[in-house]
């Protein structure tokens, strides 16, 4: 695979390159959806701190508030109350500056189906301010990175699910973001495609990009994440390193064996294996 020359670590930080500010910080983040009849509290006061260079996992059952939190952090949803900074920039007051510093690949691979992969990447690069020549070069680099060179000039409509995911990931990288948000990037993928995405995430992180990853797959979090937080019913119920969370559970419950991340998750969310069936899935790498 080809190397991508521009990396997040080569770019100056917004605070003059001190590197001291966290990649993501949220304090008391709240999101309410108000309709005519009711107010739904999707996120109820989330506090987060993600250090630069980490792969941070954000776990939770369906409807726990993962995607809503990501959408607030990526400027796609307004914040009801609380505050958040990404790459040292305030999300609510400087959304455009945040957008310049982040890459976003959401749950649905957001692609324009009637374009080719090359056209889409080129357009995305141009929207982030690259010249036509720079955009063409960057497009070639990214197509190589996600191994889509042979399909580059085919309509995206004909891509497989795995190809669409990889292209989506590439579109999030056109401007070498400091922080990459991946919202359930492997949902619906076959095991081989899932492993390819995992490799990409590791490679991207090795180049200095902080990765904020939401997932329902506990093994994915175990494999990829330096630290993680578990959200349930709009609140963070656990956070720490995977090893630390397991050790804590073993100590608290005086378990005879080492618990898995599944056990940590079930303990944190108060679910049983029966109740959680269909909400959280285990995968084998």
């Amino acid at each position: 695979m080809e190397d991508v020359t521009t990396s997040a670590e080569q770019r100056p930080s917004p605070n003059g390159g001190s590197g001291a500010s966290p990649a993501v910080q949220a304090a008391g983040l709240v999101k309410h959806y108000t309709s005519r009849n009711e107010t739904v509290e999707a996120v109820r006061g989330v506090d987060l701190r993600v250090e630069a260079g980490e792969v941070f996992g954000f776990l939770g059952p369906n409807g726990a508030g993962k995607s809503t939190t990501v959408k607030m952090l990526t400027t796609l949803l307004s914040i009801t109350s609380g505050s958040a900074t990404v790459a040292g920039v305030d999300v609510a007051s400087e959304p455009d500056e945040v957008r310049r510093r982040i890459g976003v690949a959401l749950q649905e691979a957001g692609l324009a189906p009637r374009q080719t992969g090359r056209e889409l990447l080129h357009l995305q690069a141009r929207l982030f301010g690259l010249s036509a020549h720079e955009a063409a070069e960057r497009t070639d680099q990214l197509l190589a990175l996600v191994e889509l060179e042979n399909a580059a000039d085919r309509s995206i409509k004909g891509y497989s699910g795995g190809m669409k995911r990889r292209l989506d990931l590439a579109t999030a990288l056109v401007h070498a973001p400091e922080v990459l948000f991946l919202d359930e990037p492997t949902t619906g993928l076959d095991p081989a495609s899932r492993l390819t995405v995992w490799d990409e995430v590791r490679r991207i992180n090795e180049r200095g990009t902080t990765v904020f990853l939401t997932t329902q797959y506990l093994e994915e979090a175990d494999q990829l994440c330096d630290r993680l937080a578990i959200i349930d019913d709009g609140r963070i119920v656990r956070d720490g390193t995977p090893a630390g969370l397991k050790a804590d559970l073993r100590e608290r419950r005086s378990l005879a064996r080492d618990p898995t991340l599944d056990d940590v998750f079930l303990d944190a969310t108060g679910r049983t294996r029966d109740r959680v069936a269909g909400e959280v899935q285990e995968v084998s790498g």
Binding site: K71, T74, T75, L76, L77, S78, D96, E97, R99, R100, I102, V104, L106, Q107, E108, A109, G110, L111, A112, P113, R114, Q115, E119, L123, Q124, R126, L127, F128, G129, S155, T171
Partner: protein, 251 residues
């Protein structure tokens, strides 16, 4: 503006790659032109009907078909598809002005409007309609049609952004039919019944239609032409402002 043009080019590529969505835009207005002329041409013979200025009834009907063609834009339905598929959020996560996201599709609609209007007028010319205001009138006619396409697409985009539903957006397009038929569609305004005349006078589409008709049937009569351009200018500005407002508050 660069970003809007880039997004406009993308929307144009999209349009060219879906000819099945473009063809009805040409075919249905032609169908209405042929049917309406077939039904009323004998009632209004060209040589004895003063309001036809010596032309056939097809020349009088051409503006209705141009307006209909310009109101068949697919931009809003493609927008709903993008909202549902997630590409709209991908665009919102880029650091481009929100107005560029709106303008991109409207630019594409204006180009499509120019091409479709040109095709319809050229077909009209082949079948004996002439543009009495000459080359300048021809240009003004297709530009006015394209501007109306932008206005109506802007309105449809508003529905798409508000409802995020293909079904609701499709239904919204039906609003054009009362707008088109509450006009001096078959006869000049002074020949309408009093209630119909009042309704047509309050309908802004009337002034666009009369401007088009004037360009086809008469020399450059600015008193008829300018109100049409004023309507599309005001309505276009309003649609753009409302679209930007709704996209900025999009949650």
């Amino acid at each position: 503006m660069t970003q809007a043009w880039l997004l406009g080019q993308r929307a144009l590529r999209e349009g060219l790659r879906t000819p099945d969505a473009l063809l009805p835009t040409l075919f249905i207005p032609l169908f209405f032109l042929v049917v309406n002329v077939g039904q009323a041409a004998k009632i209004f013979p060209g040589d004895t009907t003063a309001f036809l200025h010596g032309q056939g009834y097809g020349a009088f009907q051409l503006p209705s078909s141009l307006l209909l063609a310009a109101s068949f834009g697919t931009a809003a339905l493609f927008l709903v598809e993008e909202i549902e598929g997630g590409y709209f959020d991908k665009l919102r996560a880029t650091p481009i002005p929100r107005s560029a996201i709106v303008l991109g599709r409207l630019i594409a609609e204006s180009v499509k409007g120019l091409l479709i209007a040109t095709a319809l007028v050229v077909l009209g010319l082949i079948f004996g309609i002439s543009i009495a205001s000459g080359i300048a009138g021809f240009v003004l006619l297709v530009v006015l049609t394209a501007l109306w396409a932008v206005v109506f697409s802007g309105f449809m985009q508003l529905i798409a952004l508000k409802t995020r539903s293909a079904a609701a957006t499709n239904s919204g397009s039906l609003v054009f039919f009362p707008l088109l038929f509450l006009t001096p569609n078959f006869v000049p305004r002074d020949l309408l019944t009093r209630p119909m005349e009042i309704a047509a006078t309050f309908n802004p589409v009337t002034y666009v239609m009369e401007a088009m008709r004037s360009l086809i049937l008469e020399d450059l009569v600015w008193g008829d032409i300018l109100p049409g351009f004023a309507v599309v200018a005001v309505a276009g500005a309003a649609m753009l402002a409302l679209n930007v407002r709704i996209i900025e508050r999009y949650d």
